[in-house]
Amino acid sequence: MKRDLTPWLLLPIVALAMLPLMSFSTWLTLTIAGAAMGMMLFLMASGLTLVFGLMDVMNFAHGAFITLGAYLAVTVLGRLSGWGGPDSLAWNLAALAVAVTTGAIATGAVGAVFERVIIRRVYGSHLQQILITMGGLIVAGQLVIVLWGAQPLQVAKPVLLRGSFLLGGAAIETYRLVAVVLGLLVFGIAYLVLNRTRIGLLVRAGVENREMVEALGFRIERLFVAVFVAGAALAGIGGVMWGGYQEVVTATIGDEMTVLIFIVIIIGGLGSVTGCFQAAVLVGLTTNYVGYLTPKLALGSNIALMVLVLLWRPRGLFPVAKQ
């Protein structure tokens, strides 16, 4: 099957175009920072793009899963602070792995309840979806305050993940490298599941034409629940990683990402996981380069990026055929 490879060129083009504007070591630091941010954006956004693509559901409460993940990072890493000392990188990574796993399971479970109690009642009506998920977001924010308090909390990030090492004259934060590896891993797994399994085949088919999937004898609701839960779990993982990256967690940490996440899924093409991955890295890189060159333009640059991409490809980098 022929694949559309042009959008993949965008990443190296953007990265290389920045090289003349700064020293190599600065460029390397920014590129890795951008890639790391991109991977975390991908984790946070991938579920949302599939939920929209498959069921045409707009979930504005998606940020709550991220917030929950970030607070779980506070709690789990706090409990495991004994593992986070300076002696063993393995134990440091193990603490992060436990936090990530807990985040995935807990947000996945919350996602399952949220789908059943709220989302399922508002299929087909965008207005209701927007209103009720916005409401859900507010309630979730309050619950977080009840559980964890209103004051900002510090993440007990394992000591060795705070440090950095030198590469090509540039200081690379270990945590960012971990984020890049995790993001690539999750993307790889998501790609294999979508392209090599029957469930993945059904999801791709359902994103394109839900009705026909049903007419072939498959219950799309079950598929949707699975995708919704997986998407929530991924957002939870993203939240854990983002919380650790920010080091300070507040009840709005997820909401603050929502605009960026919507930019990512629109640039990528609604419903496309590959597009989401591309777009997330593109947004991560742009944010970091522009943040360095002209700090005031950082958010504006992402909106400009979205406009440019949409002028080039009106339905995003990897448009999904819709019927």
């Binding site: 099957m1 085949l201 394109e208 072939l216 004898g217 498959f218 999904v320 055929a321």
Partner: protein, 242 residues
């Protein structure tokens, strides 16, 4: 005729939103034969098929499939009874390969090689395009793929909505050949078709719809031999389509 009726609609009414589209459709599809549903544009043919598939809900009446009322069943359950649906727009997944499109039409996710060979014998182009994205197929090839989806496994009933729409005459002849092969396998077929040449060549029985009702039902032989009846029933649709 003492033949068994596989699909029977009795007084089926369908509303779409606030529009009353079907006003009591009565239709019998005998087992093992090909029934053509004719009627002018907007008569309610597509709505009838969609109602059988559960894609619209019947607001009144019964839809009996092999004696069971399926009017309240969900679409996937209806499909699992062995009913294949080829919609007007064909419902091809353009982002998926030809192979993946056909794979989704199997219940277990595995091909029966003998059946696949039969599909390739009928539509060789599907074999050459096996790993290509279905979105790149021509209209006729897409229609062949859509019909093949109903062939990779034995179905009890196949429902096809206007497969010749927009196709070149040579392709239509090819499809007619396909339907003859399907008929030999004794698959029951309900076919909406405006092309009377095709309808006459493959149809055993015929029903004609107008304004949300079936206004005539009988054998294709009777209709084909009676030009006055054709003129009265189909004047409009034939004038518009030939």
């Amino acid at each position: 005729m003492a033949e068994k009726i596989l699909l029977q609609l009795e007084g089926v009414q369908t509303h779409i939103g606030r529009y009353h589209i079907l006003h009591g459709v009565d239709l019998s599809v005998p087992e093992g034969g090909l029934t053509v549903l004719l009627g002018r544009n907007g008569a309610g043919k597509t709505t009838t098929l969609r109602t059988v598939m559960g894609l619209w809900r019947a607001s009144a009446g019964r839809i009996l499939f092999d004696g069971t009322d399926i009017a309240a069943m969900a679409t996937p359950d209806i499909a699992r009874l062995g009913i294949a649906y080829v919609p007007e727009a064909m419902g091809i997944f353009t982002g998926l390969t030809v192979r993946e499109n056909l794979l989704l039409a199997t219940t277990a996710g595995r091909f029966d090689d003998a059946r696949l060979d039969a599909v390739f014998a009928l539509f060789p182009v599907l074999k050459t395009k096996w790993h290509d994205a279905a979105g790149g197929l021509s209209g006729g090839q897409k229609q062949m793929l859509a019909i093949s989806r109903a062939m990779v496994e034995q179905r009890r009933l196949m429902i096809v909505d206007e497969p010749t729409k927009g196709l070149a005459p040579a392709v239509i002849e090819h499809l007619i050949g396909g339907f003859h092969t399907l008929k030999q396998s004794r698959t029951t077929i309900l076919l909406v078709e405006q092309n009377f040449h095709m309808a006459r060549s493959v149809g055993d029985s015929v029903a004609v719809m107008d304004d949300g009702r079936v206004v005539h039902a009988g054998t294709m032989a009777d209709l084909a031999g009676d030009e006055a009846l054709q003129g009265r029933l189909l004047g409009l649709s034939l004038a518009a389509h030939q």
